[in-house]
């Protein structure tokens, strides 16, 4: 066990910086991928544009078609995909810190199933009120989330109790959703799109509602980084280090529920992003939330934009639900990373 003074410092600095270099590389690469995804999304669709046309469309009125299509249709939709992807990925990452469970997903807080039941109740039973679907979905999600947390609360938040309460509440609300779908099976078309998540027809109007709340939620998420990191050491170790574990869990879960809630109420249910993106990021960059959380946000955005671009172009003019695309393509990629082992080691 004796060690000489010389053997300690040289290899250390080298290995540490190697890890840091890797992290920075992943960060930069993900940013580049996001940028390319935005470009691809602006470029492809019913009309194709070159990069110079995209720039023209964004900056001037010269090319009227490019201006209309890019600035009024594709750009807001791309930005919404970006925001939603970031929200869901960050929500998932925060919940994984709380639950310390690899299957933690924003849906676990009841947000998705509550939003779904409220939204399809409006769509099927009161179709003439369809304008308030996002608001109803948000309120439904918030109520379901409140229900899950009050069921799980017993002198504090126990992750296992949240998971159990979440699964139970999701089952009950999901039953309600299925029941309505069957009773009103003649009007199911639009509902199906919503239940699988879709950005079809989303415009600046939706972005203006979504963006401010998302910025608030994401900032709170970033402020939680140290706490999330410490929670990963377990309840006792976190308490030992002076973290108020119950308060921390509550703040992190509610932030996650909020981010998921505003996203789901805008674009419908999109699974997978919140569950898988944080895992992929962990595999690539490790569990340190200082890197993991921002990269999750970037990667969530990039994946969401790519999935949406594919969803609207693959079988044009038919639009596919983006949630379905995400699951079909993202799932196997995740399994590949998992088999390969990735960087989820030192």
């Amino acid at each position: 066990m004796e060690m000489s003074a010389s053997s300690k410092s040289t290899p250390t600095k080298k290995v540490m910086s190697k890890r840091l270099i890797k992290r920075i590389t992943v960060f930069v690469m993900t940013s580049v991928v996001l940028f390319l995804a935005i470009l691809i999304s602006l470029r492809f669709g019913s009309v194709r544009f070159t990069v110079s046309e995209i720039i023209q469309g964004l900056t001037s009125l010269e090319n009227a078609t490019a201006h209309t299509v890019i600035k009024n249709i594709r750009l807001p939709r791309t930005l919404i995909a970006m925001v939603v992807g970031a929200n869901l990925a960050v929500a998932g990452a925060l919940l994984q810190a709380v639950m310390r469970n690899p299957l933690a997903d924003p849906g676990l807080t009841g947000v998705s199933s509550g939003a779904a039941l409220a939204a399809i109740t409006i769509m099927l039973v009161f179709p003439n009120l369809s304008g308030i679907v996002p608001l109803a979905a948000f309120i439904g999600g918030a109520l379901a989330c409140l229900l899950v947390f009050s069921l799980a609360w017993k002198k504090g938040i126990d992750p296992i109790r949240i998971i159990l309460a979440g699964v139970a509440v999701n089952a009950i609300l999901g039953g309600g959703t299925s029941l309505l779908s069957i009773l009103y099976s003649d009007r199911i078309q639009g509902v199906l799109m919503w239940l699988n998540g879709s950005l079809a027809g989303k415009s600046w109007h939706h972005l203006r509602i979504l963006a401010p709340y998302s910025i608030i939620g994401l900032i709170i998420g970033l402020l939680c980084i140290n706490t999330a990191n410490t929670l990963q050491l377990g309840e006792d170790a976190a308490k030992n280090l002076g973290i108020k574990v119950n308060t921390a869990r509550l703040i992190l879960s509610l932030t996650a529920a909020f981010l998921a809630g505003i996203s789901v109420s805008t674009v419908g249910l999109i699974g997978f992003v919140g569950l898988i993106v944080p895992h992929i990021t962990r595999l690539l960059i490790g569990s340190d939330y200082r890197f993991m959380l921002p990269v999750s946000a970037l990667m969530g955005s990039a994946l969401m934009i790519l999935a949406d671009t594919f969803a609207r172009t693959a079988f044009a003019p038919i639009e596919l639900p983006v949630g379905v695309i995400m699951a079909i393509f993202g799932g196997p990629f995740f399994l590949y990373l998992l088999r390969k082992g990735g960087g989820y080691k030192v």
């Binding site: 060690m3 300690k8 540490m16 706490t227 006792d236 030992n240 002076g242 569990s287 989820y344 030192v346």
Partner: protein, 263 residues
Amino acid sequence: MIKASNLKIGYDQKIVVEDFNFEIPQGEIVSLIGPNGSGKSTVLKVVSRLMNSIDGVVYLDGCDIHRLPTKEVAKKLSILSQYQSTPPDFTVEELVSYGRMPHRKWYEAKSQEDEEIIEWALKQTRVEKFRDRSVNSLSGGERQRAWIAMALAQRPKILLLDEPTTYLDICHQIEVMELVNKLNEELGITVVMVLHDLNQAVRYSHRLVVIKDGRFVMEGTPEEVLTKELLRNVYHVEAEVTVDKMIGKPVFLPIGLSYAADF
């Protein structure tokens, strides 16, 4: 330094510890001993504010520990639970750096002083050569030392350890005990630990506190505590107790049970 008065502790409806009083003087190593399920770990959890008591107060330097800001407590006291886990990619150095958390504001970055203390903690526990390895890749004994390094980085005056040697082989058990001894002697850290192994408790503690069925039985020096009568009454074990000439402490040799076990 730490004083517990009239502790009453329970899980849900079940009371597991009652009328428990004890005091830990500064600079000593005190071990809580007692049979399985006697409540020793529970007492340690309450004393370290990981858990609330139903009744009674724990004083840290004269203040109710549950009313002190938890971050302030974390600068004076560190507790290592029996089970620890880290994400698979956390390195030893990263783990140890968490020990500085209580000393920083949430927006502050690691200072030069933090770096120095982390370095010092790695050295004290001799885990510096593992600093870049993942905690999970270490052996049980090395891992325990890495966690003790994290605790040291908190610069605590008092260190609480819940069964620090359980699951370790005998060599690593002694290694951890020697480390605890060194921290006490050289740094003056007060140590309170729960131990299963009576001979270890006797060997490395200044004082022993005996708990049985959630009740305080007695406390005293190892010589006062480790007697035939105690082993019979608390553990139901008949044993020979002699003072070992080499270490000058009492040791015991179990002979059998004090009741007729019918297997």
